[in-house]
């Protein structure tokens, strides 16, 4: 095996370090000019392994110009790595400049980087796209020797991953000799990840280097004292136990699943924290300065615990963490392992982790996840084809850099893994969309963005188009956010605009660990003051909850259906399942249990499908559509990760018919027309593709909405050109990710002829959690008008024309939660608000 050259050998020796085998393996592979994917658990010296060959190369043959490009999904990670790398480079006196390039890089440094690039540039996919859209990109990247992609598992399979793959394909054209190095956490199926990284889209062109994981993690299940909750996802009942665990360890990360949960858990801990242990909080909506303070305090060991969301998921080093607590269900085996890996950054000792399920189903899920970890099984979702919206943005970006021939660009993009199977028709339609909108009606000849010259080269029309592109680069579509500013003070973070729209002056909410009172709305900022009275609400954010992975869902199903596998379950859960067997029956492993029962003047239908929340939302839509056709008067439905529940005016019968495979036919078509999920998907697709403008935070809005409402565009386009490329992209995206149609199709096929229908006289034990689940979807369409009519009639009858009808209506109808109710149950005056836009924005 190869050894380290000087001065590296000396530098390692001076620290008493020996190079790890995978670090040497990467050095060796680089010597042979190979592309490599390194799979290693957190704390394995992965990043250094990625950079070492470049450092060695530059130490042996110093040169000017860009040598190594490092791309990370997080700005903060790029900054962190730059810091960690600069130290050894200075200590060894290497002639290497290391700089970061992100959205935060000041203008003068950007200019300097273009004139005189550093040897090592650390950046993000968005900033890389921007660099590649510049006319001088060929000069800047011509001498590139290595591309390092960090946290590759977190990028591949997302739209940012699509974008980066396209950028790498362009770099493959500009610098054919550049080696690619992917750094990734352990994944179940490395094949797709290799293909994603590969310069040919073929996995075999990327060598796989895998390090064996250290000791297996040790899991503890922590239940709350007293009664085990039926529902809820917050896990607040376990706050005393969590605090006790924190007291018993040196440094703890308390991972939660959503930002709202972070606020609530943090508040619950501080309510009990009589010893005033230093406990902090970290989530993506807190003001960046506050986040940096917490990170610094954590790194310096001044905190005993930090309550964190996925914003702490990725590789940044947080110092000497010796305990990880996961509050709420883990939702996926790989995700759990990564979080657990944050404890004890040494590979040879087992990580200690505590799982704190919030309800009974989550107990089963936690047990299923630990069993999967013991069995060494990870969950991997199959790769999905690259988004056409991302391609549209890329095509325009490339046109901004230089004129192109469609044939050549097609050849280039199909070398990117996610686009290897892209059809020429789709490519041409995307190019046409970029050119003139791609409409059947030739209306925009004068407004084309690209024009073709005599040789068939496509040129961008003018500099304004390029400016517009750069303003809208990126694949993360933010829901409109507003800054939260203390009256006469600083900014503490941001909340979604729609949440603010549900507030009235004097209302209070929990944010950044304090109760804030809403004072007024200023352009682009919510003005608040500290304190306030009454039950605070908690801002919830769109797309906050991760769906349960297929693999974990299957394990949960297997445990539930087989009493012999209940031994690891705590007694209250076993009793719950025994009761279920008595009152109804256990959901079968492969068939489908459907229960119907009357309650509160409505009929409920509960299906134990275990396909994850996204699939259930789609299924709910399809089944209620069919119920509508059968005259059952469906009123609404809710999907949890485990079951889906619908309620209707009349008793559902002929269950086989409601779950027949052909609901994917007619009902599907009808649903596509109205689905709010499709609308949300279209909004993202249209924004990324550049049809509608990105929302720029802080941009002042005239009181009236002059931004284009994507719903209106969607309606008009659907009626007049249903096969438009963006509608095709929307359907394709919805079919895989957002709506999980494939999962539903597999389910319906699997349970055909194996549906067990139980008619009960009341709710069954397993159905209780679903009935108290929040976040219901309403059956739109015809039923909406009927409801409006009912409400109008009721109000007239009850008030005889009096005002304040909302309150009156709340009195005359029973207490049905309104759409989009926040996490904190609203016991206050009713507020009739529409559900938050739910998007997958991470």
């Amino acid at each position: 095996m190869r050894t380290l050259p000087e001065p590296f050998a000396g530098w390692f020796a001076a620290r008493g370090w020996t190079p790890r085998p995978h670090q040497l393996a990467l050095l060796e592979a680089a010597g042979r000019g190979e592309h490599v994917l390194l799979l290693a658990p957190t704390g394995g010296g992965k990043t250094l392994a990625g950079f070492l060959p470049s450092l060695v190369d530059l130490a042996a043959a110093p040169r000017e110009g860009l040598h190594t490009l490092y791309v990370s999904p997080l700005k903060a990670l790029a900054v962190d790595i730059a810091r960690n790398l600069t130290l050894p480079v200075e200590q060894m006196g290497l002639p290497i400049r290391i700089e970061t390039r992100t959205g935060d890089t000041p203008v003068n440094r950007r200019a300097r980087q273009r004139e005189r690039p550093p040897q090592m540039l650390l950046t993000t996919p968005e900033s890389l796209t921007l660099l590649l859209s510049l006319p001088d990109a060929p000069e800047m990247f011509a001498g590139l020797a290595a591309i390092i992609v960090d946290e590759a598992h977190a990028l591949a399979g997302t739209k940012r991953g699509d974008q980066l793959a396209l950028c790498m394909a362009r770099l493959g054209t500009l610098a054919p000799g550049a080696r690619r190095v992917g750094l990734s956490a352990t994944v179940a199926h490395p094949g797709p990840l290799r293909a994603w990284l590969s310069p040919t889209a073929r996995p075999e062109d990327v060598r796989l280097v895998e390090t064996k994981g250290g000791a297996a993690p040790v899991f503890d299940l922590q239940l709350p004292e007293g009664r085990l909750p039926w529902g809820g996802h917050m896990g607040l009942a376990s706050a005393p136990e969590i605090l006790a665990r924190i007291e018993g360890a040196r440094v703890t990360i308390v991972f939660v699943n959503t930002r709202a949960q972070a606020e609530l858990v943090f508040a619950a801990l501080w309510r009990l924290n009589e010893a005033a242990l230093p406990i902090g909080m970290h989530h993506g909506s807190l003001e960046i300065g506050l986040r940096r303070k917490v990170e610094a305090a954590m790194a310096e060991g001044r905190l005993r615990a930090v309550v964190a969301t996925a914003s702490l998921d990725l590789g940044i080093d947080w110092g000497d963490v010796d305990q990880v607590i996961q509050v709420g269900a883990p939702k996926g085996v790989s995700r759990l392992l990564q979080r657990v890996g944050r404890a004890n950054h040494r590979m040879d000792e087992p990580s200690r982790a505590v799982l704190v399920p919030a309800n009974r189903f989550e107990v089963v899920e936690c047990v299923a996840a630990t069993e999967a970890v013991e069995a060494g099984e990870l969950d991997g979702e199959p790769p999905r084809p690259g988004g056409l919206d991302v391609l549209a943005q890329h095509v325009l970006a490339m046109a901004c850099s230089a004129p192109f021939l469609p044939d050549a660009l097609y050849a280039e993009v199909t070398r990117a893994g996610p686009y290897a199977a892209l059809s020429r028709r789709d490519f041409d339609d995307v190019v046409r969309f970029v050119e003139d909108g791609g409409y059947a009606l030739q209306a925009y000849e004068r407004f084309r963005k690209l024009f073709r010259d005599a040789e068939g080269m496509l040129h961008v029309r003018d500099a304004r188009i390029a400016r517009q592109l750069r303003m809208n680069l990126g694949t993360i579509v933010e829901t409109p956010m507003l800054k939260v500013r203390l009256k006469g003070g600083g900014v503490v973070g941001e909340v979604e605009e729609w949440f603010v729209s549900t507030l009235e002056a004097g209302d209070c909410f929990l944010f950044g660990g304090q109760v804030l009172r809403y004072e007024r709305l200023e352009p682009a900022a919510v003005i608040v003051s500290r304190g306030g009275e009454g039950e605070p609400r908690v801002p919830v954010y769109a797309g906050a909850r991760m769906p349960l992975t297929t693999h974990l869902a299957a394990r949960v199903r297997a445990i539930l259906s087989d009493p012999r596998r209940w031994e690891h379950l705590p007694e209250p859960v076993r009793e719950w399942l025994r009761l279920q067997r008595l009152r109804s029956e256990l959901p079968p492993r492969d068939g489908l249990l459907v229960e119907t029962f009357p309650r509160g003047g409505k009929w409920f239908l509960v299906a134990y499908t275990f396909e994850g929340r996204l699939a259930h939302q789609t299924l709910g839509m399809l089944v209620t559509k069919r119920m509508e056709r059968r005259g059952l008067g469906p009123l609404g439905y809710v999907g949890t990760d485990y079951v889906f529940t619908a309620w209707s005016a009349f008793e559902p019968t002929d269950i086989e018919d409601l779950f027949a495979e052909d609901i994917l036919g007619d009902e599907m078509e009808e649903w596509l027309a109205e689905s709010s999920m499709l609308r949300r998907t279209f909004r993202n697709v249209a924004t990324i593709a550049g049809l509608i403008e990105k929302n720029h935070p802080g941009q002042e809005k005239s009181g009236r909405q002059m931004t284009m409402n994507s719903d209106l565009v969607y309606d008009v386009l659907r009626r007049h050109q249903p096969d438009h490329i963006l509608l095709r992209a929307t359907r394709a995206e919805a079919a895989q990710g957002l709506t999980d149609v494939a999962r539903i199709a597999a389910l319906l096929a699997r349970v055909k002829g194996r549906i067990r229908h139980r008619v009960l006289d009341r709710v069954s034990p397993l159905a209780v959690p679903a009935l108290i689940e929040e976040g219901r979807e309403w059956v739109a369409g015809g039923a909406e008008d009927a409801l409006l009519a009912e409400a109008a009639a009721l109000v007239d009858e009850a008030t005889d024309g009096a005002e304040h009808f909302a309150e009156v209506l709340a009195e005359v109808t029973e207490q049905v939660p309104v759409r989009g109710t926040s996490v904190a149950r609203e016991k206050r005056r009713s507020k009739w608000r529409r559900a938050a836009p739910r998007m997958v924005t991470g």
Binding site: F266, D436, A443, R704, N709, V713, A792, F805
Partner: protein, 250 residues
Amino acid sequence: MGAAPVHLAGERLMLDPAGVLHWPARRLLCVADLHLEKGSSFAARGRLLPPYDTRETLARLLPLLRRYRPERVVFLGDSFHDDDGAARLPAAERGALAQALAGVEAVWVAGNHDPSPPSCLPGLAMEELAEGPLVFRHVPQARAAGEVAGHLHPKAMAPTRAGGVVRPCFVADGRRLVLPAFGAFTGGLDVADPAVASLFPRGARVFLLGAERLFSFPMAARRAGAAVQVTKEGGGSKGEFPPPWPSITR
């Protein structure tokens, strides 16, 4: 079919669930905020929105003209998304519109988006139209009586037992009527927004558009107490747990 009567300055007006106003006594039809050619207006600025909005808007408007056979049609401003909109009308749509307006007196009230009279289309252009006790203008004025206006694109949320349902709406009190925006690409402004609510300090009725009929609800008067609540200091910072940042970062 499904139209609802309201009274304004003693006149009986019919609100059509399609979002237009009919004044039977004067055989007058009024429609607000068509924003025709909004798609091409965006296209000129680099956003190539679907070019079908005019077609869609007219497909909804022309049947109404055929049904009501008015003597006069009042376009209540912002009929075109910008001042050049009329010039950009595709030939087919221009023809269809001209044909539908044949034998009808068209009144093009100026809007903030289209202050100039539309070219190549029949009819009169005016700043506002006074007709009997009523005045038709684009932007509602602070102290008006008998006013029919547009501009605001009002929409409202109605509570139902399944939660709020949002629809474009008419807003009316005894003195003023605001029409919903009719155009295919026109969004809405919630009636709770001060821009709308301040016009109706003593409350109003909203009429939400439905497929077959309107749904009428009272709109509450602006609450007098609200302002007091905002300025009232106190309650103090008695959060149940200490603000964490100073203690951990000092």
